[in-house]
């Protein structure tokens, strides 16, 4: 009797196990948190040094159109105008998402509602494979197929926003499609059946019922696609032309934030202005990635409210 009582009051092997287990798993999660904070801290502090150490005006950085960080303009200010890269990054991102979205929705509708049997097997496998194709492979194909094609069609070099958009379109298509498929699958089957039973045509049902219900999910899919396009480095860098000029048309060589980072970091000296200016481009990328995150959260919570 007393033995049992004593046991009940004492920590046992299990108590110790539990403590050890908690320490292990808590340590891991804290490690991840620290990694994230470390990344944010480093990119932000290095990205800010253009403005704090080199005294570059933030506004002239964002709105300037001349990027040659080694040189100074007539007023003695360094030429670090990031606008060409910012504009090009947004241009390829928005254009590729605009082109990809109708295709992604059509394919998703095909896979979930029109021909679910085909959707499950063949298309699903292909989409999964496409998500997994490395970006350098997309870049290589862009370089060997898309760029010569554009050159042939429109003249010039073939490098530029149009080629970048085409490559990114193929890259974000599987991302947007697979997430759109998920959101269409989440629409209860009886919505479709009820609507068809009321005599609506399939298109009326899709347009007025299914797509309405899936809108938040589709928006989330598009944002994820845009985030992928905005952050993509090598594939774009291989076909965009890498000229830090304000894009005049879709066909002239340009540079995105990521492509400029890829080509530039290796050719500049740590701590110098040209190097710091590149970190500021990285900071813009980081901030945009946070913006995409917040947008996903926002759209997601809107979706919940409508339910």
């Amino acid at each position: 009797m007393d033995q049992i009582k004593a046991k009940l009051m004492k920590p046992s092997k299990e108590t110790k196990q539990e403590t050890v287990g908690k320490i292990i798993s808590y340590t891991c999660i804290v490690a991840i948190m620290l990694l994230v904070l470390l990344v944010l801290y480093f990119i932000i502090s290095f990205g800010m040094s253009t403005f704090t150490k080199n005294n570059v005006n933030l506004w002239s950085f964002l709105s300037g159109t001349n990027w040659s960080p080694g040189q100074v303009d007539a007023h003695g200010n360094p030429e670090v105008g990031a606008l060409p890269m910012i504009v090009t990054s947004f241009a390829v991102t928005i254009l590729s998402a605009l082109v990809a979205t109708p295709f992604a929705i059509a394919v998703s509708l095909f896979m979930t509602i029109i021909a679910p049997k085909h959707g499950k097997g063949f298309l699903q496998a292909i989409i999964e494979l496409l998500v997994g194709i490395p970006s350098v492979v997309y870049g290589y194909i862009g370089l060997t197929l898309v760029v010569p094609f554009i050159r042939h069609l429109y003249g010039g070099t073939g490098f530029g926003i149009l080629s970048g958009t085409i490559v990114l379109f193929v890259m974000v298509l599987p991302t947007i499609t697979s997430l759109t498929v998920d959101s269409l699958k989440a629409v209860p089957r009886y919505y479709l059946e009820a609507s068809l039973a009321l005599g609506a045509t399939r298109w009326q049902t899709i347009y007025k019922v299914i797509l309405r219900a899936a809108t938040p999910g589709i928006l989330t899919a598009i944002i994820f696609g845009m985030a992928r396009a905005f952050g993509e480095a090598l594939a774009v860098q291989m076909v965009i032309g890498n000229a830090t000029l304000m894009p005049k048309s879709l066909l002239t060589p340009a540079a995105t934030l990521t492509s400029q980072l890829t080509t530039g970091i290796g050719n500049t000296v740590m701590g110098s202005l040209p190097n710091n200016a590149l970190w500021s481009l990285a900071l813009i990328l980081l901030l945009m990635s946070l913006v995409f995150n917040i947008a996903v959260k926002f759209v997601g919570s809107k979706g919940d409210l409508n339910k």
Partner: protein
């Protein structure tokens, strides 16, 4: 417009768009495989790459990719497992947990070039690891951790709560219940997650250019001393991977047969990733059957 006609038009539009996508996909995969496979030969896979002359192979790049992948998994799996267990089993429902979730989402959505540059700054320069397999593996760990953590968390969460209650009701600690009862059931899902993330790691290049480097110095496959700079096992040597190789020969290289090398390497990459994908599906299903069916 007459709804019947609208329906017909909509159907036609959808079919056309799907057809275009299918054509693009077929073109894409066909192009890689048709132009690439003829270049894959035993010689191509087992000889050293050439910078200035034609006929180079991808032996070292292929090995580096695999070695880097293994190192990355060794570093990232334990951390992802611990974090996945925390999130699935211990995390209370409060603001702190949602902060952690958000942090992991942020990490997973960071462009890989940013991750690469950060690791360049901190590990290659600050900690003086130099361009090395180790720096590359750390960079890929950043990239891999959120994916792996999430897939482990989801696999653990898919195990019914009844199993946890059964463990608790027998006086087992929660940790023992997790490691002895929940984890074995989640293994198929976790393995699928590992393989799928391995596919992504294998093809990653942007995070590696400034961490593992773009050079593939001569290495000896008979030197098993990991501390010897010439050893293939040395984690401190610079190591160009297959994906980085494709990028380099297309942008900076002067190799005369760049397009043959690229198409051959691309085909190898695609085939490996295809094997990973199929392997994940097959192994996941096989293990699941084995777990649930009677022995």
């Amino acid at each position: 417009m007459n709804p019947k006609i609208a329906n017909k038009i909509a159907d036609a539009v959808i079919y056309i768009l799907v057809a275009i996508v299918v054509i693009i996909l077929a073109l894409l995969i066909g192009f890689i495989l048709i132009t690439g496979i003829p270049h894959i030969s035993w010689h191509f896979l087992t000889s050293v790459s050439q910078s200035f002359s034609a006929g180079g192979g991808i032996r070292d790049q292929l090995f580096n990719s695999i070695y880097l992948l293994i190192l990355t998994l060794i570093i990232s799996f334990p951390i992802a497992l611990g974090s996945g267990i925390y999130l699935a089993e211990y995390a209370p429902k409060n603001w702190f947990t949602s902060l952690i979730q958000t942090a992991i989402e942020v990490l997973s959505s960071l462009p890989s070039i940013i991750v690469g540059l950060f690791c360049y700054l901190l590990f290659v320069i600050e900690f003086q690891l130099g361009f090395s397999i180790l720096s590359g593996a750390i960079a890929l760990t950043f990239f891999n951790l959120p994916l792996l953590t999430r897939s482990i968390q989801e696999s653990l969460e898919s195990v019914p709560d009844l199993q946890r209650q059964a463990g608790a009701s027998l006086g087992l600690s929660r940790w023992k219940t997790i490691t002895g009862i929940i984890f074995p059931i989640a293994i198929p899902g976790i393995i699928t997650g590992i393989i799928l993330s391995a596919g992504r790691v294998f093809g990653e290049a942007a995070a590696l250019i400034y961490t593992a480097g773009e050079s593939a110095p001569a290495i000896s496959y008979s030197n098993f001393n990991p501390f010897n700079p010439a050893s293939f096992l040395n984690p401190m040597r610079p190591a160009e991977t297959l994906a980085v190789h494709i990028w380099k020969v297309n942008t900076e290289g002067v190799t005369p047969d760049a397009s043959q090398i690229s198409s051959g390497s691309s085909a190898v990459l695609i085939i490996v990733i295809l094997i990973f994908n199929l392997g994940a599906h097959y192994l996941g299903k096989h293990l699941y059957d084995k777990m649930t069916a009677s022995k």
